[in-house]
C-alpha cells in the first residue's frame, strides 16, 4: 500500500503558499481541521481563498485566520456570528461569495467525481442565478454550476490509516468526505492514525486514493457552538 503519512501539520501544509485556494471541512465548528488551521496561522500565508460552509467564530476555526487577515475571500453558505468577519466585510477587506449549501456540497462532489458541472434548482430566480445558465429539464428550471477547483482540501477525520483511508465520526463527517475528494492535494488530519489493515475496508468513507497526506492530529478542542441539553428529570 502507498504510505501517505507525514510528521505533522507543519509538514502537511508546507507547500500552501500565498494566494492558494483551500477547501476546509466542517459544519460550524464540528469536524474542522483544527491542527491545519493552527499551522496556517503559524505559517502566516496570506491572500487565501477559503471554501468552507462557515467561517468559524471570532476566536476559533477559520475565525483565527480572519483575525490574522490571511483570508482574501470566503466561499460559504452561512457566515455566522463573527464580529471580525463582519468588520472586514463591511470595510471591503474581505470578499464573500455566498452560495447555497447544497450547491457548495455538490460542486465539491462534482470535482471529486470528475464532472465539470452539475444542475441544481437551488437559487433559480434569485440573485444566486445572476449570470448563470438556466436550463429546463422535465418542466423544471435548474442552474448549471461548475465543479470547484481547489489547490488544497484540508479535512478532519476520526480515524485514518497509513494508506490514507479515512473514517469520520457522527455528524463531524459533513463536508469532509466530499472536500477530501475534491482537492488537487488533500491533507487529512485524524484523531487516531493506525496501520494499513486496521480499518475494515467496508467501513471506509474516503478511500486513500483521494488523500495525499495524513497525520496524527493533537490537542483537539472540538468546541461546541450551541450547547443544548435537557434535564435528566425529563
Amino acid at each position: 500500500m502507498i504510505n501517505k503519512v507525514v510528521a505533522g501539520a507543519d509538514e502537511a501544509i508546507k507547500d500552501i503558499n500565498d494566494g492558494s485556494t483551500l477547501m476546509l471541512g466542517g459544519f460550524g465548528l464540528c469536524g474542522i481541521p483544527e491542527n491545519c488551521i493552527a499551522a496556517l496561522v503559524k505559517k502566516g500565508v496570506k491572500n487565501l481563498t477559503c471554501i468552507a460552509n462557515n467561517a468559524g467564530v471570532d476566536d476559533f476555526g477559520i475565525g483565527l485566520m480572519l483575525q490574522t487577515r490571511q483570508v482574501k475571500k470566503m466561499i460559504s453558505s452561512y457566515v455566522g456570528e463573527n464580529a471580525e468577519f463582519e468588520r472586514q466585510l463591511l470595510s471591503g477587506e474581505l470578499e464573500v461569495e455566498l452560495i447555497p449549501q447544497g450547491t457548495l456540497a455538490t460542486r465539491c462532489l462534482a470535482a471529486g467525481y470528475g464532472m465539470p458541472a452539475i444542475f441544481t434548482p437551488a437559487g433559480v430566480g434569485t440573485e444566486v442565478a445572476e449570470g448563470k445558465e438556466v436550463r429546463n429539464f422535465n418542466g423544471k428550471d435548474y442552474l448549471m454550476e461548475y465543479a470547484f477547483d481547489a489547490d488544497f482540501a484540508l479535512v478532519k477525520a476520526w480515524k485514518g490509516d497509513t494508506a490514507g483511508n479515512l473514517i469520520f465520526r457522527s455528524t463531524s463527517r459533513n463536508f469532509n468526505p466530499v472536500m477530501a475528494m475534491a482537492g488537487k492535494t488533500t491533507i487529512a488530519e485524524v484523531e487516531e492514525l493506525v496501520e494499513a489493515g486496521q480499518l475494515d475496508p467496508d467501513h471506509i468513507h474516503t478511500p486513500g486514493v483521494y488523500v495525499h497526506r495524513i497525520f496524527q492530529g493533537k490537542d483537539y478542542e472540538k468546541r461546541i457552538e450551541q450547547r443544548t441539553v435537557r434535564k435528566r428529570i425529563d
Binding site: 464540528c30 447544497g102 441544481t120 433559480v124 434569485t126 469520520f168 455528524t171 466530499v178
Partner: protein, 219 residues
C-alpha cells in the same frame, strides 16, 4: 392570535405517519415538540443526519453530533449519518416528505424571501435555497404582520428572493393559508378569536376566503 408555540402546534398537525421531515431554525424547530404521538416520523438534519433525537442529557453532549442549527443533539435507534452531498442529494431528489421553514415575506404566487435584508449584514442562505427549490411539500411558519404592523403576505416580495413559486402552505399567528396554483392566498383556518376581516386587513396580497372559515383546532 397564536404565539410561536401555537404556530408550531398547528403545523405539527400536518405531519403524517411515515414522513421524513426537515425542520428549519426558529419556530420550525419547535414543531418537533408537538409531533402527534403514535406516528412515526424521522427528522432530517441537513448537515448529515436522519433520525434526529432530543437534546442530550447534561454532561452527555457530543461535539461531533450536532444539528443544522449547530445545537448538540442525539441520535435514535435507526439513525443514519451521511455526508453533505448525500444530504442535499436526498433533498433535491425529493426523498424528504415535508420541509418546514421560516420566512420574512411570502408572495401570493408562492415566492419566498427569508435570507437577506438589504443594508443589513448578510449571514447567508445556508440550505434554505436548496430546500425551497427542491421540496415537494413546504410549510412556511411566519408572522403575518411585522412589528410595524405591515403585512408580510404580499403581492410580490420586496426582499431578495430565496425561491420562486415554491410555497404552498403558510401558518401564521393569524391563519392557515394555501397558495393557489393560479396565485393568491386561500384562507383555510382562522386562529382562535381572529376574524376573517382582520386577516384580510393583515394580508396585502390577494386573499380568497369562503363564507365560513373555520377556527383552527389545536388539540
Amino acid at each position: 392570535m397564536l404565539d410561536k408555540n401555537g404556530i408550531a402546534k398547528r403545523i405539527a398537525k400536518e405531519i403524517k405517519d411515515g414522513y421524513y421531515v426537515n425542520l428549519g431554525i426558529g419556530i420550525p424547530t419547535l414543531v418537533a415538540n408537538y409531533i402527534p404521538t403514535g406516528i412515526n416520523v424521522v427528522l432530517q438534519s441537513e448537515n448529515g443526519l436522519l433520525g434526529m433525537g432530543p437534546f442530550p442529557f447534561e454532561g452527555e453532549e457530543d461535539p461531533d453530533l450536532i444539528n443544522a442549527g449547530k445545537q448538540t443533539i442525539t441520535t435514535l435507534p435507526g439513525s443514519s449519518i451521511f455526508d453533505s452531498a448525500m444530504s442535499f442529494g436526498m433533498i433535491r431528489a425529493q426523498k424528504i416528505d415535508l420541509t418546514i421553514l421560516g420566512a420574512m415575506e411570502v408572495s401570493e404566487n408562492g415566492d419566498i424571501a427569508n435570507w437577506k435584508i438589504p443594508g443589513k449584514m448578510v449571514k447567508g442562505m445556508g440550505g434554505a435555497m436548496d430546500l425551497v427549490a427542491s421540496a415537494k411539500n413546504i410549510i412556511v411558519a411566519m408572522q403575518h404582520i411585522n412589528k410595524a404592523g405591515e403585512s408580510k403576505l404580499l403581492p410580490n416580495c420586496t426582499l431578495p428572493l430565496t425561491g420562486v413559486k415554491c410555497i404552498k402552505k403558510i401558518v401564521t399567528e393569524l391563519a392557515v393559508l394555501d397558495i393557489l396554483p393560479e396565485g393568491g392566498f386561500k384562507l383555510l383556518e382562522r386562529a382562535p378569536g381572529v376574524s376573517v376581516d382582520f386577516i384580510r386587513q393583515a394580508t396585502l396580497g390577494k386573499l380568497y376566503a369562503d363564507d365560513n372559515v373555520p377556527e383552527m383546532i389545536l388539540d
